[in-house]
């Protein structure tokens, strides 16, 4: 711990700067910098989130019913998660504690469609090239096009799994990306029977392909046991929603935090009071904040979220095939995969299988075609909505005034929870693979492999604002300066 902290605060002059910019095959914008001394030893390694957009501020003044549609634009990869987290917060604002069965099931269907498509995208399109070809394989081949050439069936399955998830979203949200299906207090449509039939016909195949994807990751672990077990691995606390009976539930539940050793730090905590449990720090070198568990403090209280913490932190998965895979995962090599950073990929595929099973059972339920869509209640001024997005726990918090306008918004997005953990993974890889060596493209890609394991949605993580000591000129197409700006820093 001391060593990591000294790396972080190192300001020794004369160090050589190596930058990985832009991080590629991740879902958003970010860069990594390394500072090396004369012998090439790594003195500092940081993940910088370099962009801001300002959602928390410009959401203010908008009517509350616009928010579930607006905030999706935080992210085009998991828009449904933002759509539903905001909807859940606004359910409370319109006084609804319990949705109609149809609304609840249609929203769940939408959300598990989101989980399935995002996990397929993350694994097949973004991460599988590293895992199939090797972390330092030929850069020209290390992408989905290379996968399509070498493993055409696998690439095709990845595309079709993602397509199925997107279709589930389209029939529930009205549109594949940035839909409008969920509204405060319910949903504005249910599933048309013809669409339901079409989707149901595909479920058996989707479940089978998802199961085979779990087994593919398992084989990768077996074939590269030492590397997969140890790569960027370190102990960490964890956080996730669980259902009242301890089951995995990606749509709703209470907060459960476990220590690195597996002890319960808190359980079934009411997320509407999340600030009793979680605080955030700011560091000067990133627009992404650093959350931590309040009772443990900023030094020891950082934690991880996402597929790995959900699969290892729940008591069971409430669908039979995924539950069997969870048990195999926990038992593998005395639990080594369940602690490994690359275990995120295995856990992600188990969740994809679970999502496929949940979608099949929801589509078998006549309620998803029902017509009782909305519930009503007495207006309140505050709402908190929390959901397990593909990348982990997602918190939306709003205050609404008597004129229906949002006056305050706070968003803690999934990737932000993993900020400290991703920085530690980067440092671990830098020390293990890069220290004192000549840096090649392939070696540097090891850093990105570590970041990719976490499901970074850096797109979402860039919703805040900042100002830097730099100058810039903006010119139009004819070279005329139309804007110029100089700042001396904040």
């Amino acid at each position: 711990m001391t060593e990591a902290n000294s790396l972080e605060t190192d300001r020794t002059p004369g160090l050589k700067r190596v930058v990985i910019e832009t991080l590629s095959r991740v879902e958003g914008h970010g860069k990594v910098t390394l500072l090396l001394d004369e012998e090439g030893h790594v003195r500092q390694a940081r993940l910088h989130i370099v962009e801001f957009r300002g959602f928390e501020k410009f959401i203010q003044g908008r009517p509350y019913w616009e928010v579930p549609v607006m905030v999706q634009r935080l992210c085009g990869i998991c828009p449904v998660s933002h759509h539903l987290a905001a909807s859940k917060a606004m359910d409370l604002v319109v006084g609804v504690d319990q949705l109609t069965p149809t609304a609840e099931k249609v929203r769940r269907l939408m959300h598990y469609g989101q989980i399935l498509q995002s996990h397929a995208l993350h694994f097949f399109h973004l991460s599988s090239p590293d895992l199939l070809f090797g972390f330092d394989s030929d850069v020209a081949r290390r992408n989905i096009v290379g996968v399509a050439a070498a493993h055409p069936d696998l690439a095709r399955r990845g595309v079709l799994l993602r397509k199925f998830g997107q279709e589930v979203i389209r029939v529930t949200a009205g549109k594949r990306i940035h839909g409008t299906g969920s509204v405060p207090g319910g949903v504005n449509r249910s599933v048309p029977p013809a669409e339901r039939r079409t989707l149901r016909e595909q479920c058996t195949q989707v479940i089978e392909w998802s199961r085979e994807a779990v087994h593919l990751v398992k084989r990768l672990f077996e074939q590269n046991l030492e590397q997969y077990r140890d790569f960027a691995t370190f102990p960490s606390h964890s956080l996730a929603l669980v259902r009242a009976d301890g089951a995995m539930d990606l749509y709703h539940g209470g907060l459960r935090a476990l220590s690195a050793g597996g002890e319960t730090l808190f359980d079934h905590a009411d997320y509407c009071e999340y600030w009793e449990r979680i605080l955030e720090d700011v560091k000067p070198w990133s627009y992404m904040k650093f959350p931590f568990l309040r009772e443990l403090g900023p030094e020891d209280g950082w934690y991880r979220v996402g597929p790995l913490t959900r699969v290892t932190g729940c008591d069971f998965i409430p669908s039979p095939l995924a539950e069997q895979e969870r048990r195999d995962f926990l038992a593998f090599d005395n639990g080594s995969a369940a602690r490994a950073t690359l275990g995120f990929h295995w856990a992600r595929m188990i969740e994809m299988l679970h999502a496929a099973e949940v979608i099949a059972s929801l589509l078998a339920d006549d309620d998803v075609c029902g017509d009782d869509l909305m519930a009503y209640g007495e207006r309140r001024r505050r709402g908190v909505g929390v959901i397990e997005a593909p990348r982990g726990t997602l918190i939306h918090h709003y205050r609404v005034d008597e004129h229906d306008q949002v006056v305050r918004a706070n968003l803690i997005v999934s990737t932000t929870h993993n900020n400290e953990a991703m920085n530690r993974a980067i440092r671990a890889v830098a020390r293990r693979y890069l220290d004192g060596r000549t840096l090649t493209e392939g070696l540097l890609n090891h850093i990105e492999v570590a970041v990719r394991a976490f499901d970074p949605c850096l797109s979402c993580a860039t919703h805040a604002l900042g100002k830097m000591p730099l100058a810039v000129e903006l010119a139009d197409a004819d070279g005329n300066v139309i804007d110029s700006l100089r700042r001396d820093g904040g």
């Binding site: 914008h29 595309v159 397509k163 940035h178 955030e280 900042g466 810039v472």
Partner: protein, 183 residues
Amino acid sequence: MSAAPPRKLKVATTSLAGCFGCHMSLLDIDERLFPLLDKIQFDRSPLTDIKHCGKCDIGIIEGGVCNAENVRVLQEFRANCRILVAIGACAVTGGLPAQRNHLDLGLCLQEVYETEPSLSKGCIPDDPELPLPLDKVHPLHEVVKVDYFIPGCPPSADAIWSFLTDLIAGRTPRLGHGLISYD
């Protein structure tokens, strides 16, 4: 004797101040991706590990221009791409991120990084590694010449497919009824 296969067109894509929704909509062409890959080769893109745009036939950019880094990337694309396409509401008009254009940056900073109640200790990020934000979010055409605009948040997969197949075949792309949206 069969003719040599036609040269694949080089296509670069990037996201500036956007949400990757337009890239997702491109992937929503689903299995049509595979015949497309017979005709094009990706240069810099979120799907490849190519970090800088090389000489390309087509450059596709989503997202508006919100900081110095966006300006640099956009200029690099313009210098290297024969045809530059602004895709989606943010690239065409600034989109939702441009809603910050009427706000004071200093107040936004204070609220997000210093006074938000869930903060333990706040400070405003000021590291030289972080690029300078612009006062306003700009659409692409205010910074460089743009050849084509595809509106929508995001444009549909069918619109993107229709546009690309026309362009690759050497036709002037025309989006017909039902393919243009302004959401």
